[in-house]
Amino acid sequence: MFEIKNLEREINKLFYTTGILIYETDMQHGDGRNYWPFHPVLLDSLVAPFVFEELYRLFRTLERRRYSLEKIAGIIKSPTKIANYQYLWPSSTLKLVSSEKKKYLAEIFVKLLKILRNKEAYCEKFRNPVRNDKEVKKYIRENKKYLIEKNKKPEMAKILAKLEGLVMSYCEILYYYMLDLSRLFHGPYQYQDKVIFAKEFLDLKAGKMWDLVKDFPFDHFQEVGIYPKEMQIQVFFMGHSHTKPSFPEAIESFVLKLDGKPITNLREMKQYYRNTSKAVNKLVKYVSANMKNEEFLLKRGLDLFFYPLKSLYEEVGEDWRKILPKVYEFAEKNKSKIRIPNPWGDWDVYKAARFLFKVIYRNNYRRPIGKKEIEFIKEIEKNSRKIYEQSPFPSESYSIISALSYL
């Protein structure tokens, strides 16, 4: 039985990390004009109660069937996927879900993240250790024959970067920027005097979500890259990564597997690139043509929160689409009521601070914002700065205070 000491403290860590990450994402996007095609708050608010109710029901069903948490984690596979569902916590519509269920879910999220990330649930060491050292060593040993060295085959390394960029763009269209519902970057791992970093994309042939993409050239993309020991890689809680220098610049060798098949020659790789490019461009054309069709965009946006749970639905013998009619109905009734927060635009300091407190305190902060709260924000800012001061990357706008004084 998987147990965690001081679960309450762990849950606070989960919310604290989530709050910081939401703040960082918002800061980087400025005032929200750059979200495509909708501001995430709109979609989050419309789906949050359904996603949480469904997750609660699915986890409880599996528990009743005596599934261990390790087994449930094995069905979900990606900790990054779970991390990305944490964006839903600040949604005001979550008041429709009982506190008891929310507490249960917070506990299970923490436990699953601990299992799937080998105890580093919040990427506190700026890594996403999905595999342990033994597994990494075994993988390299067994796949040495498929290793492609950049020095010997520079063209293949170049196409690898382009192919991965394409797959990433594809996932951004499928998941409206929430590509980490498919993308799983993990590592960095130390291996002898090298750094190993893996990039995976799961469930790419999402034909059941969009018929249009059922013929995507592959369902699973897996690249395991070997980098020099000086390579600096940081992975954050939600799956974002920072590197110095860039991946294509630093990569020394790699194994590329598409649907488990090692790709070892240039001709085959080029063919995959062409086919992927064709599939992505077809999707771009289709979505571009429907950019004014709000009903279409909204329904696809609602679907994308449930599709990544399909392995859980399948495990309990259900179809992931069963819930969708209810979600559409709720969205239709409530979409005009959702208020998009713009804390960095036209809000005053206290209002912005209040928003941040709501994010951190799961929407339950009722006190007026005063000296104590501003002090607390300064403390978060200090911690946030500390994180980025330790980071080898520039820290241009990671400051709550600068955000507030900018108003």
């Binding site: 750059n34 495509w36 970067a161 382009k162 990433m168 974002h240 294509p248 490019s277 979505v287 241009e396």
Partner: protein, 111 residues
């Protein structure tokens, strides 16, 4: 040696240096204007810009930060990118020859 004049500064979002012709794309419907090796200049990219990005040697945007779309995708592709220049789409014109320094966040006009 052609003269170089620094005309814009922004946040260095993906390192490296590239030279090429600027192509202003304000909307994905203009993706077809992009030629292989052009430098994509835009307000901010979104996933529908992918056909233009595939051909781009570098990216310059008016807005954004280190985790904005253009920054992330250019780092994955290994092409230089400067974001948050505020006015690149106003200052640069289609066909201008530019040099972009993605390490320093500087853009030069080559005469």
């Amino acid at each position: 040696m052609p003269k170089q004049k620094i005309i814009l500064k922004g946040i260095p979002a993906s390192p490296g240096i590239a030279k090429g012709k600027a192509k202003i794309i304000l909307d994905p419907s203009e993706n077809h204007k992009m030629r292989e090796g052009d430098i994509l200049v835009t307000e901010m990219t979104n996933p529908l810009f992918v056909p233009a990005i595939q051909k781009a040697k570098a990216i310059i945007t008016n807005v954004g930060g280190l985790t904005s779309h253009a920054a992330i995708i250019s780092r994955e592709l290994g092409i230089p990118c400067v974001v948050a220049t505020r006015k690149a789409t106003k200052i640069l014109k289609d066909g201008d020859r530019v040099k972009i320094d993605g390490t320093k966040g500087e853009i030069f006009l080559i005469k």
